[in-house]
Amino acid sequence: MSRLLAILGWGTVAVLGAVAVGTVAVHRGEPINALWLVVAATCCYALGYRFYSKFIAVKILALDGLRATPAERLENGRDFLVTNKWVVFGHHFAAIAGPGPLVGPVLAAQFGYLPGTMWVLAGAVFAGCVQDFVILLFSVRRDGKSLTEMAKDEIGRVGGFVAYVAVIAILIILLGVAALIVVNALKASPWGTFTIAMTMPIALLMGVYLRRIRPGKVVEVSALGFVLVLAAIWGGQYVSQNPGLARVFTFSAPTLAILIMVYGFAASALPVWLLLAPRDYLSTFVKLGTIALLAVGIVALHPTLHMPALTRFVDGTGPVFAGKIFPFAFITIACGAISGFHALVSSGTTPKMIARETETRMVGYGAMMCESAVAVMAIIAACVMQPGVYFAINSPAGIVGQAPAAAAATISSWGFPVTAADMQALAHAVGEQTLYNRTGGAPAFAVGMAHIFSHSLGGETLMALWYHFAIMFEALFILTILDAGTRVARFMVQDALGHVYKPLGRTSWYPSILGTSGLIVGAWGYFLWQGVKDPLGGINSLWPLFGISNQLLATVALCVATTIIIKMHRARYAAVTLVPLAWLVAVTFTASWQKMFDPNPRVGFLAAARALAAGPIPMSGATARLIFNNRLDAAVTGVLVVMVTLVLVESGRQWWGILRGTREAPVKEAAFVRTRLVEEQG
């Protein structure tokens, strides 16, 4: 009877999912309700988790509930610790959820809502969730080893080295592009800048409160910090209305870029307890609360999507970023579908907290599903706007022009009507001078989120507060990534330099701290500066570079996973990781080739450099810098692709040798030890 009920229940979910996905896919003409996306996503995730992840767990990984995990065997009360599965789930989700799943889908919405939605659903169920799940399990079976260590053990020294370099490269490019998103959101915005500036003294206050007044009461102080941030958002409107104060908090993009670099350097060198840790707590508090609130808002309001399913820009002429739907939609959306960076989290803290192997399915596969759901919410937020408004916010001045009337006319000529008066009214409603040329995705997401929130809570009168709440939420998120990422990269560089000269490896030696902090901030600051000075807004070149490097890291992770699966004598099921790997290779290599060699200067870095070089002579200093930057971006892309090719070749040699029987396939797992938790729990 229960089997019959299960068949009926899951059959209903499958039919409902098919109807919803079908509606999302084939609906044309009239606007569609966002609820269709929500239903399609919910059904896909439910089916993927119930059937696909179970298939992987049983047939390939053979999860063993009786095998003691490192959390049990190596428990030390610090890193290794047996933890409740829901607690690990929350911890893991908080670590993988960043601004990526919010920004990427907003940028990819230039193709319409359909490509992004389909990639987020299919990519998560068949690639991203699988990657996070298998890497987590393989790390658990190897005493919580990191991805780079596993790559070295299973593929060879080349794998380990490439993974290490890829992580550093991704961090630097990510930090540069993340900082650019903040700059574009805050330039000429006294309200937003004031709010974000206030988060710094608030974080310092939280640090002192935690250290001196109520030691260790983090949830309490985070709630207090959140109230203070809300007060700062409220106060921001008065700052923007006061000409004197507004002038103090109004900055150009280059000035903001310099301020953010100074902040990144200070945050990397200051004691963790004083600034980094409290900001991290505050950001996590706001992040978890806002994501939950947005989910409730979307379901309660179920807004209509005004963006068409497909726009004319699938041909590669989009103003937000140039390039055709294949491969660019698939590298623009990374974290919501598959992100190599997640493999680092899955082989970082999480495997050391898992109590039983069987829980890796819920934590690895399940948390990535939630991350993917966040990306679906971002698509909805971007697509509830009128398309003309979306393109006015996200198009750089180099494409649509500086003057509002000219920009509105250009965007209208694409078939997305918008007027300068519409944009002025919207800017006024959200408390900004202008919303034109705010590339980077964050302001568009903020407008969409404010639209959803203001319709469910507070009405139009609170639109400006919701907009600045959303900007604060994203900027806080990104600045936290900036200071934490700078420090992580600094430690990685220090670890490497320590092999050359021992004192450089000491994380408490100030000359080394200052030197390596300066090196890392200088590296991402260079990309930030490049973006700020780019007439096309920077996002056009930097976001694809970030997407390529992130997906190349996923390629390395899937190489490691496939190698281990083949070594486990499960080669006939290797398609589970091999198919996503093949897809990512096709996507990233095509994107890399096009970004380097496409003859269209808006797509190809080298073509852009050639077009600039063919300009008037004598060449200005700015033009020479742009030419150099384009060549540098091409070189960075080329180096990453060559390194990942080496990993692929090395992995392929391993697979071929193992399958032909000419190479031994030792599985480098920790020895089996029977768990005692089962007896303890009766």
């Binding site: 607690v87 789930f89 929350g90 601004p99 990526g100 250290r211 030691p215 949830v219 963790v272 960076f341």
Partner: protein, 58 residues
């Protein structure tokens, strides 16, 4: 009712883990210390080295 209470406890435990309160409590247990400004400073000295190396995604 029991289920609701248990879910609430799990939710609070997750928050305590995410916000490092649980790690601090374990540190106090291990070090045999009571919560104080000095104990928290000692905890941060030990914990921050690990925490800042933890990868957090984009």
């Amino acid at each position: 009712m029991k289920r609701i209470v248990s879910s609430w406890h799990t939710f609070v435990a997750a928050l305590r883990e995410i916000f490092d309160e649980a790690a601090y409590a374990r540190f106090l247990d291990r070090a045999g210390m009571a919560s104080s400004s000095e104990a928290y400073a000692a905890f941060r000295r030990e914990f921050d080295e690990v925490k800042v190396r933890r990868p957090k995604c984009c």
